[in-house]
Symmetry: D2
């Protein structure tokens, strides 16, 4: 059964593991809960490991499995390429897909290097001229509590920004026996905690504030260098497992960042706090249905952080789901992402976050590595909006 | 695409609104995430309002829509009837389905009266002889944090039970302008907050402790008697909007219960706390991925309530979903329910909660209304396990 | 050193243990932080155990120790009798002191029976004609967060009251090896958890709402009947260790109460929540510097419970203490109590809570015991304000 | 009244404002609650403003007021000088007092410069040879939850340290109308948020871990440069109002620090978290009676952060105060500090934190300012213990 007259678009997805599962569910639920103007067909899934790819395809009713992503791009019945493979593949696939006139959704980080990201952003800009859309998968932007935070910032409820405090804490590398996967090898993953989870912290900081990180001073580190290989023996970890950096936002606010996989007991603590002259906002993904808001303009005797349960119909995305107090989970943001992208493709609007947004994050990550390699020296972000803010900084040029 | 050799079962669902949506998603996700030995086919959905039913059917790929639930029971390609319609329909549908040899999943409360519930439990017992399974939809049992709590009780980590503190707080009737829906009419809903949400609190108390409520002293009330009708004019609310009662568990523990739709600011606060001689457990659905556990046998200087994020592979149901710290939402328990029921049907085990469990809850609800009508006089629960516990109670026969 | 011209009043305190310590500190800090118009002199402390009394006296600079409280009343240099002895002594001491024209501060519960409490209230009324003041020590009223809650209720920010949820949870009797002290003997303590801690929950409910409890349905119990005596052997516990009851407030709101010493892991959890048509308030003494306030009139997208840190100069009592965010502790409410009483004595105003307030609590406690002894039958509170509210209650006369 | 045979020591306190009040209360309560082997006599208080000093003296029974601190040192009946005056006075007073053989308690930060702090540490070392004791007032070490955290680290329950996350957030400078006090002038205060509150964060990090900060990369800033003077007109803020820095601990753990007076809604949020291979600890002064402990060695299914209410007799300092669940407040740590110092003087042990501890903090603060002035360049801490740890750091020498 289906709406006979609804327009549809064929999706070709590259990858079938963690992100492949989340995206599959996202496409499916976008259709069931958001009635986008363009309905997704799960046309084909590409995976080098046919057996594993087939398993995912069966779980989510992908019509076909291929082993070469190029086959997806070659097909006329596929209009959108969804890239869920490791970071070292993003640039090649995305550039080829865009050149072929396919809309592209690409997982984050956009690429493993600034050069790749620049090429991708250029390809996206060129394709845009032909009505082709592209989006990078900073999915956390579409957690309702985060989207609400952005709305409150836009409405001016934080005022002039003073501080950003962003961190992404996990603990799965605390154990020295955790195996050496592709995520711990530079040639596949680009970087470690920095690119995998730090990228989310940077994107959220830039998204929520509407400002750029203009410079950083950084330290990175790897606490455990040798780890067991999945097939026996040990191998060398070639990426960071922790990164911490100071930053300055366009408007002068002071930002602190931390990304680590060694924060024992913190499982998926993507946290961000904004402090401004009129209010503050705080979010923690481990309590993902909640946004904390401090309204500094409220009556002094009842001022405090309000624990907003972001499950009301007035909140972003919620009307499509359940009654108040019935929380959402991790996967729901993928449905929001899919629905928003399908709508953008249908309406011809530019979806966000764009490849340019992904490039901006990539430049911050590169500056972090550069600063860390240079004794934490302050390192400006090329192309970041010029600093215009008021703070008088001691010791910053 | 699908597993060619997998056994399947046709589902016929009655209802298409809130619960119909949740169950549709449950069946779909059970297949995608739990690979049950028996795969569900979404064969047909029954709804008196064909337009509305068709809309739900299209969202979730139900193959067909019918307007009379009897048509579902008559079909050979349907093996399981899923009842998501209001409580006044449960008994008739369930008894007919069971008599026809269909497995049944029935939303809670099991029925609108003890007599109906008894008839249903009898029908379930008779059908069981023929290998027919039945289950009542106390879905909250399958929230991973709740299932973990049950496991800890079974392991003896709470010790001898002293207190149960169960409440279900909502606030959507605080506003006198909230409309008069079928949920506020006794002839459709049976009771108000008591049967709709109080039933969950009672079931959780009995499930988590493994004991029965043996008697109650109760008060019920309706704060707003006249409400606007959806089509204009006003009508009379004929059910409670709040109920509070004291209870005694089989083992002697003292229990307190409250169900209300007037707890301003509490959206879906299904909360339960158990205190025992060795430990305590606390759960709040508004923070559904968390279980609080106090281990009274721990070293005195580090004792306290531990906030367990129930998102680890060691926790019930979690291995099928996401990595640690990536929380689940309201709907996931419906997938767990569907998967467990499909497994039970396939293996021939008795699923839980049974119609007998539903009947036990119904008897408590009836005793609550009886006590409230009798000046809160202590009212025993017929058939509840005889009290065997140690506490010396003052003023209780 | 001291203010030469300040008026002073001699205090005679009866008792020297837990409450004696807290009151001593209260008098001392009232002087240091609140500059009351009448300064307390710690003239004499009465204790039957001279050694123990002397120890307390030395710690807090009481000028003298006596072993008979009558000696305090006989002295001209003592103007205020502070009763910190067990409940069975309250009536005799207070009535004698009031008759002798001494102002009286009496620990709670006011007495061990309604009859005693009535006699005390009558004595207070008579003494009042002669300018003598009396106050009962429901100290929690003067925790700043509680006083702020009262202010918000008075300002109408809760609206029409629907629910009161009051409980006082402790766990020191969970252990069957906890010894049999005077608090577990009816002849000394009057009752157990009910009178010792339940009294606070009842007083807070009546104080915060400005309404009376008009009736109750109750259960009480004693989980451990035999306990070791401090000096060896075992003895029988003759009071409850747990009590739970339902109640109705004057305006019709439904109230639930619980007091227990068997709530494993809850150390001093005096909790109260009010739900009204315009807002809700929640307090937990284990987080005593915080008041939770839900403003139902706020913009829907930012509504939630606000965690007010009650440490601002705009909050009750706080300006006398520390800067924002520097929390107070348990003992501070005793300084507030002492300061307010000294001010009332100096100005001739009636201090609160009065002996009448204490009597109102006593009547609720008596009704609880009566209801518990009568199978939880609804038991009206004699003299409670007639019920005037709107709720239509099912099953309540 | 007093213990006839108790040994006493005369205290001479310099300062009478916020810290003068807290210390006065500390001396008084140390005597009442801890029965130290040496009892304090509040002999004399020195303040340039005799009226204000006299007011404080009267509140806390100081026997005498002088206007020149040298008069305190000259007296034979004073054995201990307690320095509560602004930072620019510390060195002169402390060195003179130590030279005169007086024990010294000096508020933090120890001094306004490393040079002064070195002189003070040298003076303390010389005086120590003569049995003279000195202590710096990092009072937060003696909050029971912090002392418990230290005990757990010592017991090895955190394991090998990976991360320190320390911040001290306030918001009283968010408002541009907040006046220009001495705390905002470099010549009096030395630095701003960095020295006043950041010093506490640094000390806690070093104290709890038992390690040194060995280097930093820093940014400081001042968001509001011109502020109203108390007497009219405006003046220039010459200190930072915010500072953030990265650091490395002796053992290789990565540390992040932040101190700010512009974190809207955060009132006194001194927070520290330690992550190690075996466990994590987290503390927030705004919830000061609580320590969060994650035991990574616990059974996987019940692992999480345990909210330890640090109010049990097994916890540091608590046995002297109230029953479980009856929290302490800000001032209690000053009583602990006084009691511990009096005990150390009596027993001849070296009290902690020492002037050397204060100097170590001072060196970190100086390195922060140096790094901030040098474009965040990594700046080693002279004399910090050589780095010995395992982490392989990218971009750190």
């Amino acid at each position: 059964m289906g709406s006979l007259n609804a327009r549809t678009i064929g999706i070709g997805m590259v990858g079938h593991a963690f992100m492949g599962t989340a995206h599959s569910l996202g496409w499916r639920n976008a259709r069931s809960f958001f009635a986008p103007p363009l309905l997704p067909r799960l046309t084909a899934l590409a995976g080098r490991d046919r057996t594993a790819a087939t398993a995912t395809a069966e779980r989510f009713d992908w019509s076909e499995v291929v082993t070469d992503w190029r086959d997806l791009i070659a097909r006329d019945d596929i209009g959108l390429i969804d890239i869920c493979a490791p970071g070292d593949t993003h640039a090649e696939i995305a550039v080829a897909a865009l050149a072929a006139g396919k809309h592209v959704l690409c997982e984050k980080p956009l690429a493993n290097s600034v050069a790749e990201a620049e090429a991708m952003a250029a390809a996206a800009a060129a394709a845009r001229e032909n009505g082709v859309r592209s989006m990078v998968g900073f999915t956390y932007r579409r957690v309702p509590a985060v989207a609400l935070a952005r709305r409150l910032v836009r409405e001016g409820r934080v005022g002039e920004l003073r501080h950003v405090r962003a961190r992404y804490l996990q603990d799965w590398l605390t154990d020295p026996a955790a195996p050496l996967t592709w995520r711990l090898r530079r040639e596949r993953a680009g970087s470690g905690a920095l690119g995998d989870i730090g990228a989310h912290a940077v994107d959220l900081a830039q998204y929520l504030t509407g400002e750029d990180v203009t410079g950083v001073a950084a330290v990175t580190g790897t606490f455990v260098r040798e780890r067991p290989l999945p097939d026996g023996g040990t191998g060398t970890v070639t990426v960071d497992d922790t990164a911490a950096f100071l930053g300055r936002m366009t408007g002068g606010a002071l930002a602190t960042f931390e990304a680590t996989r060694c924060a024992t007991g913190r499982k998926n603590a993507l946290r961000i706090e904004l402090n401004g002259t009129l209010g503050s906002l705080a979010f923690d993904f481990e309590d993902m249905n909640v946004l904390q808001f401090h309204d500094a303009t409220a009556d002094a005797s009842v001022r405090g952080f309000t624990r907003i349960q972001v499950t009301e119909p007035e909140h972003p995305y919620i009307a499509a789901w359940w009654p108040p107090g019935h929380g959402l989970g991790y996967e729901h943001a993928f449905a929001h992402q899919a629905a928003d992208l399908l709508t953008a493709v249908a309406t011809g609007d530019d979806p966000e976050p764009s490849f340019d947004d992904g490039l901006r994050v990539q430049r911050v990550l590169a500056a972090v590595e550069e600063s860390a390699a240079a004794g934490s020296a302050w390192t400006g972000i090329p192309g970041a909006a010029a600093r215009t803010g008021t703070p008088d900084t001691e010791g910053k040029p």
